[in-house]
Amino acid sequence: MIYLLLIPLFFLIIIFIFFLFKKGKVLFRKFKTNSEKILQEDILKSVYNHQYQNSVCNIESLSEKLNKTNQQIQSSVDKLIDSKHIEPDNKEIRLTDSGKNYALKIIRFHRLYEKFLADKTNVNEKKWHQLAEEFEHNLTNEEAEKLAAQIGNPVFDPHGDPIPSPKGELPEVKGMRLSELNPGDISVVIHIEDEPDNIYQSIVNKGIYNGIQIRFLGTFNNEVSFYANEKLCSLSLEEANNINVGLLKLEKIHLGDFKKLSSLSVGQRGKIIGIAKSLRGQQRRRLMDLGIVPGTEIEVELESMSGDPLAYKIRGTTIALRKNQTEKIYIESL
């Protein structure tokens, strides 16, 4: 008789598990991996990056970068030569025109997907690159254009890199390396290289993000020191070399005090300087729609029962914000 119990219970548990693990969205789609195709595409991307940065590319540098043996790389490179995507030039490997287009297409997919993850999902920024590395190989052109349209045909990815156009156009590299600034220079982070992963993670962990304002101090004992949004910060030379800085158009430089909105307590006032770029997509738009834009005066009006959220007076209305938001809003004293 006890077995009768198992029938409905089993059935219900199956349904439940089915929902738990069936992640039907494109977002989490798992793919059949075609490792040869992926390797070839990764090679094309690497060769393209070498050319973009004007460095020499050969079998050895590729195998090191992609973590494969020389034979594996060689066999894939041979196939790519057969399909006329790359051409050997002495010991060096160069892309043909069709190879370059192919590489740009993959880069476009990668950056579009990162932008999608940043704007439309809650996925942690440390995982974007890895997810995009898998996703880029499994997208058709139509799917990519649909995705692009869904997120407003962006031209920059969340790391500040330009996204190649569908026709394969890409602008010149802009800005300079962070380590090349002179003491006293003021600039803004415009690009953080997301490879190698461990360097990228440690940069992100130090609170550096695209759009953060840099006041450069200098390089001492291989430590690059600077103020990031007026907070003292230092990076290793290797980390600093993976960051590009420059002044974009419409960028406003702010001198003077940089406080977080979260540092105010009830009754205190301030003037908004800006919202950190790490608040993106819907969250950012929502705050701006509520009137949180540079120049707006803001006052802490009310504390909730537990002290978080707080209610702020903004342009005559009272709006409650959580601490994890107000930590990313910068203000100056009035």
């Binding site: 349904i15 738990l20 809650n122 602008p171 969250q283 834009v293 029962m305």
Partner: protein
């Protein structure tokens, strides 16, 4: 051809310009719009420099969101709303029941009989479709017509956003939005209305969480069943003078368990299934203002009460027919209902329930309000009791709790059955109206199915556990 070429050229120029301008465009645009607006406004509007010495809004806010008074005031307000709803609904409910069930039902039956309609048609239409619809209207309409306007008045006055503001810390820890406290409170009135009210949550992830967990609020339709069962089985445990307190405590425990479940499930969902969905928080605290009573009455009656009632009726008509049919179609002289009950009984016993309860929850899906009448009718027809009820397939309820207890006890109910019924009444699928509303709001079969099956799985697991522990102990 040249058209295409030109478009391409324009797009490529646009891309170049966008690369050139960089990412600051949107922010700068917003900033300029605000600046412009402010310039215009500052020319047209002047503010007096003096701050008023006393601001009612601020004082109210200080009290309503204070560390010490905030929570007690909130609980008091909620208790008051429920008390008015339950007390106030009694009279109109029994009035509606006496008109629709006691008076019109026999009249309709006589009318059809006098028209020489066959017995099965009379049964199907009058005892089945009409009676269950009448039942749903008479028990559902009055509480909703009282609860919704009261709730809307509090909202209109500006109190509810303060509740969300106070409760946000708790809900943030569960990965949800403070406004979920409000949709949950609305769910205590009616889950379908609660699901609709999640529209106030503008972040998609938190809204989905609020929709899926709304069913854990013990709705109006389930309170009477809880109270009845608690009175019979839990109250019976205590000495007579404590019986009332015992059974009230049991019902409150169930309601609090529901709140705890909704927080736990919210936390679980936000950590697993809904991890990747976007989330944003903002909550406006509008100024207090005197509520607009007439407008509130009108909108809450039309938008909420009539709307939900209509959906319930649409489902009650076919369900009433099914209820009548399963009790009256016989195979080998035993009704389909009794066949089902016999077959399911052994399984149901493992969950400390019985076949009647399982069948009642399946066929009474249009409204939780008719679960108890269905259980009574099924029990009576299963046992062949002739002293109660009005025949197979005809829903009924008894004035006297003692008589109800007598029926249930002769149906083999024990304390364990009572406890498990209370648990299962909290944790089972939402009524069909709510399920349909969830589908309408989410437009997704997946989330609708999850909201439907998740509570059943939880309910069956819990009752199974309770039964095994109970059997071990006794």
């Amino acid at each position: 051809m040249s058209d295409n070429h030109n478009t391409d050229k324009i797009i490529s120029t646009a891309n170049k310009l966008r690369w050139e301008i960089g990412e600051n465009l949107y922010d700068t645009l917003m900033e300029t719009i605000y600046q412009n607006a402010q310039e215009i406004a500052s020319k047209a509007i002047t503010y007096s420099d003096k701050k008023p010495p006393f601001s009612l809004d601020r004082t109210l806010d200080k009290i309503l969101t204070s560390k010490y008074f905030g929570l007690p005031i909130m609980l008091l307000m909620l208790a008051l709303v429920f008390w008015i709803t339950i007390e106030g609904a009694n009279y109109p409910s029994s009035f509606l029941a006496s008109v629709l069930v006691d008076y019109i039902h026999p009249v309709l039956k006589d009318l059809l009989t006098s028209l020489n309609s066959p017995k099965w048609l009379t049964g199907l239409l009058v005892d089945g479709a009409y009676l269950s619809t009448a039942w749903v209207i008479s028990v559902m309409l009055p509480p909703m017509a009282i609860f919704f306007p009261l709730f809307t008045l509090l909202e209109d006055f500006g109190y509810l956003p303060r509740v969300a503001f106070n409760m946000d810390a708790l809900y943030r820890k569960a990965g949800a939005h403070g406004k979920q406290a409000l949709t949950m409170a609305m769910g205590f009135g009616c889950n379908a209305a609660g699901v609709i009210s999640t529209r106030i949550i503008d972040s998609p992830r938190e809204r989905l969480i609020a929709i899926i967990t709304n069913n854990f609020s013990l709705c109006n339709g389930r309170w009477p069943a809880q109270i009845l069962i608690a009175t019979i089985f839990i109250g019976g445990l205590a000495p007579a003078y404590l019986a009332g307190i015992f059974s009230a405590a049991a019902v409150i425990f169930i309601a609090v368990l529901g709140i705890a479940m909704s927080l736990i499930v919210s936390w679980f969902l936000s950590k697993t299934l809904l991890k990747g969905e976007t989330s944003s928080f903002s909550l406006e605290l509008p100024p207090y203002r005197p509520p607009r009573i007439l407008q509130t009455l009108y909108t809450s009656l039309i938008d909420r009460t009539i709307f939900v009632l209509w959906r319930a009726i649409v489902f009650a008509v076919p369900a009433g027919m099914i209820i009548w049919l399963v009790s009256n179609i016989t195979i080998d002289n035993i009704s389909v209902a009794n066949h089902f009950i016999e077959k399911v009984n052994p399984v149901a016993l493992l969950f400390g329930l019985n076949g009647v309860i399982f069948l009642a929850y399946i066929i009474a899906i249009p409204a939780n309000e008719i679960v108890i009448p269905t259980i009574l009718m099924l029990t009576v027809s299963q046992l062949g009791l002739t002293e109660f009820g009005a025949g197979s397939g005809v829903l009924f309820e008894l004035e006297s709790t003692a008589d109800t207890a007598k029926i249930l006890h002769s149906g083999g109910w024990t304390l364990l059955t009572g406890i498990n019924l209370m648990l299962f009444s909290l944790l089972h699928n939402p009524c069909s109206t709510t399920i349909y509303t969830i589908y309408k709001e989410t437009r997704s079969l997946k989330w609708t199915a999850l909201s439907t099956f998740l509570p059943i799985v939880l309910g069956l697991s819990l009752t199974f556990l309770v039964t095994q522990i109970f059997n071990l102990l006794s």
